[in-house]
C-alpha cells in the first residue's frame, strides 16, 4: 500500500486502479469524482472492467453502497452482497449478482461536509474484508482526498497518456489546480474548518470552494493555513466577492453556481 501511495504522490505512470486493486488484494477498484453542481458521480478510473460496470450501474440507478456513502459521508461495508436485505437496494442487487460481484465496500472522499468522490472496492470470492484491507482502503481514500483537493485529478491521471484523459478531463467541476503539491497540511486545526464554514457564508459558496479559497489565500500570502484561518475566525480577515488577493479569483469560474449554504433561510 505504501508503494501505491508513493506512486500516486509522484504521479507515477501505469494504471492506478490496477495498482490499488493489487495492493488491497481486491477483485476490483473504482474511483469516481463528484462533479458539477448536481454532484453527479463521474468515473475517473476503474480496474478491471467489472468494476467500471458496477460503478455505472449503481450511479445510474442512484442506489447502492456508493450513492449511500456519498449521501451519508460514512463508509458502507458490504463484503457479502448475499447478506444484504433485498429491499435495501432492490434494483441494484440482481444485476450486480449477474455481473459476478460478490461484495462491495465504498469509502467516501471528503472533509466534513466536503465530498469530492467515492472509492469503490469489490471484494473477492471470500466475501470478507480484513481489518488490514479496510485500514488500507481508508488510508487510500484519505490520500486520494488530499490529491483531489489539490486538483491532481486532471493533471496527473487525466492527461498523462494512460488512456483515461477522456474521463477525468471533461466537465470536472471540482477544483483543478497545480498549485498544491502535497496533501493539505493544517487540516487538524479546528480553526481551519470553522473558517471554511465562515467563508462559505461570506462568499455564498460551497464548503469545497471555501476551503480552496482559504488555502489559496494562505498560499498566496505565504503563511500557514492555520494562521490565516485564525484571522478569519477572529474576524481580522474577511472574504468577499471583491477579493483582491489575486489567488482567490483565478479558478472559481466553474464553481460559482446557484448553490449557497442555507440560501435565503438564514
Amino acid at each position: 500500500m505504501a508503494d501505491v501511495l508513493r506512486s500516486l504522490r509522484l504521479g507515477g505512470r501505469g494504471d492506478p486502479a490496477r495498482a490499488c486493486a493489487l495492493a488491497l488484494g481486491a477483485e476490483g477498484v473504482a474511483l469516481s469524482l463528484l462533479v458539477g453542481n448536481g454532484r453527479t458521480a463521474e468515473p475517473l478510473w476503474c480496474h478491471p472492467e467489472v468494476s467500471a460496470r458496477f460503478e455505472e450501474l449503481q450511479f445510474t440507478l442512484g442506489e447502492g453502497p456508493g450513492p449511500d456513502a456519498v449521501r451519508t459521508g460514512s463508509p458502507v461495508m458490504e463484503p457479502d452482497l448475499d447478506r444484504v436485505r433485498p429491499d435495501r437496494w432492490p434494483a441494484l442487487l440482481p444485476p450486480a449478482r449477474d455481473l459476478g460481484v460478490h461484495g462491495v465496500c465504498c469509502f467516501p472522499l471528503g472533509i466534513g461536509a466536503i465530498r469530492v468522490g467515492v472509492l469503490t472496492v469489490l471484494c473477492d470470492g471470500d466475501r470478507t474484508m480484513s481489518v488490514q484491507q479496510s485500514a488500507d482502503a481508508t488510508a487510500l481514500a484519505a490520500a486520494l482526498t488530499g490529491a483531489l483537493l489539490n486538483g491532481d485529478g486532471r493533471g496527473q491521471w487525466g492527461e498523462d497518456g494512460n488512456g483515461n484523459g477522456d474521463r477525468g478531463g471533461s466537465g470536472n467541476g471540482g477544483p483543478v489546480l497545480g498549485l498544491f503539491l502535497d496533501r493539505p497540511t493544517g487540516l487538524h486545526r479546528a480553526a481551519v474548518h470553522q473558517a471554511t464554514g465562515m467563508i462559505s457564508v461570506q462568499l455564498g459558496v460551497t464548503m469545497e470552494e471555501a476551503l480552496l479559497r482559504l488555502r489559496a489565500r494562505a498560499y498566496g500570502s505565504e503563511r500557514p493555513l492555520g494562521e490565516v484561518a485564525d484571522d478569519v475566525v477572529a474576524r481580522r480577515l474577511r472574504f468577499n466577492d471583491n477579493d483582491a488577493s489575486g489567488n482567490g479569483d483565478g479558478f472559481d469560474d466553474d464553481m460559482n453556481g446557484p448553490y449557497s449554504p442555507g440560501d435565503g433561510k438564514g
Binding site: G73, M77, G112, V131, S134, A135, M198, S260, G262
Partner: protein, 267 residues
C-alpha cells in the same frame, strides 16, 4: 469528590452511558458528555478524547469545553505530546508535570502552550480495543494534585467506555467495521467545526457561542449533532428556528441585511 458520593455518581454515569448506547445514539454528543463527566469525577480542569485518523495522526473528537485555546492544545498533539506517546506505546502517561524542563524538552510546543493556557499537569490514557489502540483520553489540571491509582483506574474505565461508544455494536467477524466507525466519527467532528463557522458568520457571534446554541437546539430536539450540521450546511434547514446566542441578539433575526455584515448576501 470523595467516597460514597463519587461512587454513587460513577454508577449514575455508567447507567447514563449504557442507556445512550442502546438506541441510534449521537456518538459525538455522548463523548462530549463523557468528557465533562471526567472533569467532574476526577476533579481535573479539562478533558478531551482524541482518535487516530487515516493518516495515523490524532484528532480531537470531543472535549469538556470547546474553547479555542483548549482545542488548540489537542490539535498540537497530532504530532507531539503525551497523547502521541500514549497512542504509540499503548500505555498510560499520567501525572506529567508541565513545569518540568524535561517535559518542555520532550514536547516544546505542547508544553509551552499548555502552560500558557494555565495547566500544570496532564495525563494521557489509551483508548484500547483488544490489541489495538485507536486514540487517547487527555486530561489537564490547572492545580497541582496527583491522580492516585484509584483515579487512574477510573480514568481508564472512562476511556474504555469511550472506546465502546465509538466502536459500538457489531460482532467480531465484522471487525472491519471499526475503521469505518472511526472514519465516521472523525468526519462528524469536522462537520461540526464547519457548521460552527457557518452559524458564527450568520449570527455574527463567536464560534464558541454558536456551538453552544447549536448544541442546545440539537439536544432539545433530539437531533444528532452531525445530522443537524449536515442539514444546515446543505441548506435544508432554516437556522432561524435555532435561538441565536444572546451575543447575536441585535443582528440575527433581522429580515433586512444586518448592519454588521452588509456584504453578506446569503441570508
Amino acid at each position: 469528590m470523595i467516597g460514597m458520593a463519587r461512587e454513587q455518581r460513577l454508577a449514575e454515569i455508567f447507567v447514563e452511558v449504557a442507556d445512550s448506547l442502546v438506541e441510534d445514539f449521537d456518538v459525538i454528543d455522548l463523548l462530549q458528555r463523557l468528557s465533562t463527566r471526567c472533569v467532574e469525577l476526577l476533579d481535573v480542569s479539562a478533558a478531551g478524547i482524541l482518535l487516530v485518523d487515516a493518516h495515523g495522526e490524532l484528532q480531537i473528537i470531543a472535549a469538556s469545553d470547546e474553547h479555542a485555546r483548549l482545542l488548540e492544545l489537542f490539535a498540537l498533539q497530532h504530532d507531539q505530546g503525551p497523547c502521541v506517546e500514549c497512542y504509540r506505546t499503548g500505555t498510560a502517561r499520567t501525572n506529567i508535570d508541565l513545569t518540568r524542563p524535561e517535559t518542555a524538552a520532550a514536547w516544546p510546543h505542547f508544553a509551552d502552550r499548555a502552560r500558557e493556557t494555565g495547566y500544570v499537569t496532564t495525563h494521557a490514557l489509551p483508548l484500547r480495543l483488544r490489541n489495538r489502540v485507536v486514540g487517547a483520553l487527555n486530561l489537564f489540571q490547572s492545580a497541582p494534585h496527583r491522580l492516585g491509582d484509584a483515579d487512574i483506574a477510573l480514568a481508564q474505565a472512562l476511556a474504555d467506555v469511550a472506546t465502546i461508544a465509538i466502536l459500538q455494536q457489531r460482532t467480531l467477524e465484522q471487525s472491519h467495521i471499526e475503521n469505518s466507525q472511526l472514519a465516521t466519527a472523525l468526519t462528524s467532528r469536522i462537520l461540526i467545526e464547519q457548521v460552527k463557522g457557518v452559524l458564527a458568520e450568520r449570527w455574527n457571534t463567536s464560534v464558541d457561542d454558536a456551538f453552544a446554541a447549536f448544541r442546545s437546539y440539537a439536544r432539545a430536539h433530539q437531533l444528532r449533532l452531525a445530522d443537524l450540521a449536515t442539514r444546515i450546511i446543505a441548506g435544508g434547514f432554516d437556522t432561524a428556528s435555532i435561538p441565536a446566542p444572546a451575543s447575536a441578539a441585535e443582528t440575527t433575526p433581522a429580515p433586512a441585511p444586518a448592519p454588521a455584515a452588509p456584504e453578506d448576501h446569503t441570508r
